[in-house]
Amino acid sequence: MITKALMAASTKPIILTILKSGEDYGYNIIQRVKELSGGTLDWSDGMLYPVLQRLEKENLISSQWIVSDEGRHRKYYKITVAGRKALVTEMAQWQSMIKALNLIWEPMPETE
């Protein structure tokens, strides 16, 4: 189970990474997040939207209303140049964090 606090911290790199591979709309984005986390999420679907709004306010992503083939209005999100840059720093931060955790956790299997 991933806690809410950790989830909140990691949604930004997750969303940016998803959007990096192409534009998408809210419902799909959240499905992908769920798939990635393997259903271990203590998080409601609606929570995604405030995060998207925040990222948009920070100019990391941009949005656009598009009418789908079935005639349904969908808001598509797209990563911006600033978003790509932010993702690079985000990745660097997470990787050093993971490295640090790996280093201190190495002896742990022995104690098990």
């Binding site: 419902y27 959240i30 679907d45 929570m47 405030p50």
Partner: protein, 888 residues
Amino acid sequence: MFDLEKEIIEWKKGFNKYESFEDGLIADMELHLRDAFAQLRQEGLGAEEAFRQAVAQIGTAEQLATEYGKNRELALDRRTPWRPGRFMPALFWNYIKAALRKLRRQKGYSLINVLGLAVGIACSMFIFLYVSYELSFDRYHKDYQRIFRVGLEMQDGAVSSKYAINVPPLAPKLRESFPEVEKAARLCFLDDGRRRVKKGEEIFYEEGFVYVDPEIFSILSYDFIEGNPTNALKSPRTVVIPRRLAEKYFPHEHALGKTLNINNQDILVTGVVKTPPANSHLINDAFLPMTALGNPRWLEDWTWPGMPTFVKLAAGADALAVESKIRRICASHYNKDPKAQGKLFHHFLQPLAAVYLHSSDLEYNSGLSGNPTNLFVFSAVGLFILLIACINFINLATAQAAQRAKEVGVRKVAGAARSELIGQFMSEAWLTTLQAMLLALGLMIVGRPLFNTLTTGFELPFAVFWDPRTLLVMLALTSAVAGLAGSYPAFYLSAIKPASVFKGGGHGSTRSRLRKTLVIVQFAISVSLSIGTIIIFQQLHFMQNKSLGFQKGQKLIFQIPRERGQTIDWEMLKNIFSRRLGIRATASAYVPGWGAGSHQARLLGEGDGNYRMMFDFFFDADFPEVYGMKLAAGRFFNREMPTEAANACLINEAAVTASGWSTAQDAIGKRIETGLRGKVKSVIGVVKNFHYRGVQFRVEPLIMEIDEPMFGCLTLDLQAGNIPQALAAIKDTWRQQFPGRPFDYFFLDAALAELYEAEEKAGRLATLFTALGLFIACLGLLGLASFTTQQRTKEIGIRKTLGASAAGIVALLIKDFSKWVSFGALAACPLTLFFIRQWLQEFPYRITLSWWPFAISILLALLVAVLTMIFHAIRAARANPVDSLRYE
């Protein structure tokens, strides 16, 4: 039965109580809900169950609201947004934006406003600079408030004459017996200020010399580059020269202590001064000591005004008290003098700062002088032109009220207070006038050379544009204009009622009366200026062409050089110059038209036997013939009887009247003791009045005598011959007679024309200002015409469909404004008549006013106004009515 739409509406209501949700976000989540619902249904769930699960997946409104709230806080946490200072209206930038938008949208009106105001501001700035220059005369002297010129008023029965010069013994007396007088000094202009200066073997003639008491340097501020003002000119053979002479005669060295050969005498240079600034009424800058004159008898004469006398009073001394004290103390001198019997001598103190502008009623005023009436008129004209420009602004602003009304309505509905709207419109006025100011500055820089050629004698330096004072005055002027032009439209527009705007109709037509009144004012001013200009030129033309009582054509005049005390054989000179050419020549002391001397004279055996100041003209026996003068009675001098010079004289008709004789014939044989040498002469003839001074002056009583030592100039009458050829021959003769001397000659008619320079200057400036005034007024008319035709497009369309002709419509459009322009033009007449009469009053010989300058000015204004409007009128009249009526 489960109704998805109803459930969704209910679900959305749950979000409404949290203000952190924005509409777009709720819509976002609604879409998500629908997607999730569709997915769950596909997976086989029932509608009700699918909806319940989808809602649960999204989360509760409370949960989400907290998360959204974070975003809002995020925005607030950032840097606080910029807020305008409290003194600025909250909508300040919005006002600027609205004003700029208006300027951009209505380029035509903006151009008219800015151009009109710019021309107005540039004009009044030029006038301001000119007037302040004229007012600055002699104020650069240290303690100028304590410096006075002592004038003399001589009263003889009913006749009183005021002189700018005073009796020679006065200054020494003031120094001796008046503790209130700190310093007193005289100036003496002798020999027209020209001296012969030798440099090696070369001879130059230099101008600007004047005899002075050395104290003059402690009264007037002369800037000594070399030498000391207190001990310069202590001894007779010294001179103080200006820098221009020092640089010429002693280049690259000190002039102080060197000698300069002036009129064949070696004179010690004891000082070098800077040439006085342009705003000094005294233009002489080379000073010789009064002691160099020796001690002539007339230096002691208490009845002969001959020298400008300046005093500096002690600090705190009362000028009026000093005046009356002078009268008291000097009385004894007049009581003793037989020539002063029966006359009152009154000395008065004229403040130094008033000398330049207020000496027109004084005889023998020396140096430069200005005309206060002209300054007053120019100031008024400057204000008028500015007023015309302001009226344009007001008219165009109120005319557009209909278009602005909606904006005002919306602002008011949105809660704008009236004061805020006033602020908005004032800032619009400011923006326009500020642009106008910048353009005016450009116009002034471009127009400066033209202005300088119009105002001879006044050079506006380029540096004036960098002077912060100029810019400050300009800014003050601009704010005055913005206030004047902006406040009425601001109050008017801000008073518009939103209800009446949105109801439609009410196109501010009630204000058209004000606009028309203002158009009347504009054209009244323009027409006044135009009438004034025509009359100034009429008077100028009249003076230039008035018969002077003598012939002025083709008269070549030049001065004969003479050393002090040297006698000249004038008959021989006349012969030499005229013999080869077969032309006539005459010698005289003065150039006719340029003035005459004046001395004390009295009738013998008649009247009260008192002396009177009379003008004296010295000429030779050929003079009346050469100048074509006419006799009223008696005869001219007989050339065959040279002895007549000693005991005969001529007088003019004015002298006959002044002496109380009824006809010219009565004067023949009367005896007169004439002033210069106190000789008794009998009248042999009466000359018809002629203008020995300019036409600006009345012809006063005159005595004409033959007195060879007084002669100074020779007139050659070139009427008969070929002028270039004769001139060459005369120059040739001059070179033989006066080798090495410059030949300065002039033609009388050209020289006389210069007498009216002041009037000519006024005429030129008046023309310029009239043209500009009319131009600005027409700019305004152009704006109004385009506006009204635009407003009446539909009316014109209807008229045309009903069969009106294009010409009829043009007439209709023009008629209205023409009426108001004519009203303005007519209103101008009585007022102008009053002022122009005042102006003409100054001239003893003046034109009689006729109707045609008025008629021409009115027609001109009408013509220009119609031409201005006709373009718009024709365009409106030729437009296809289909275009204007299609939309209704």
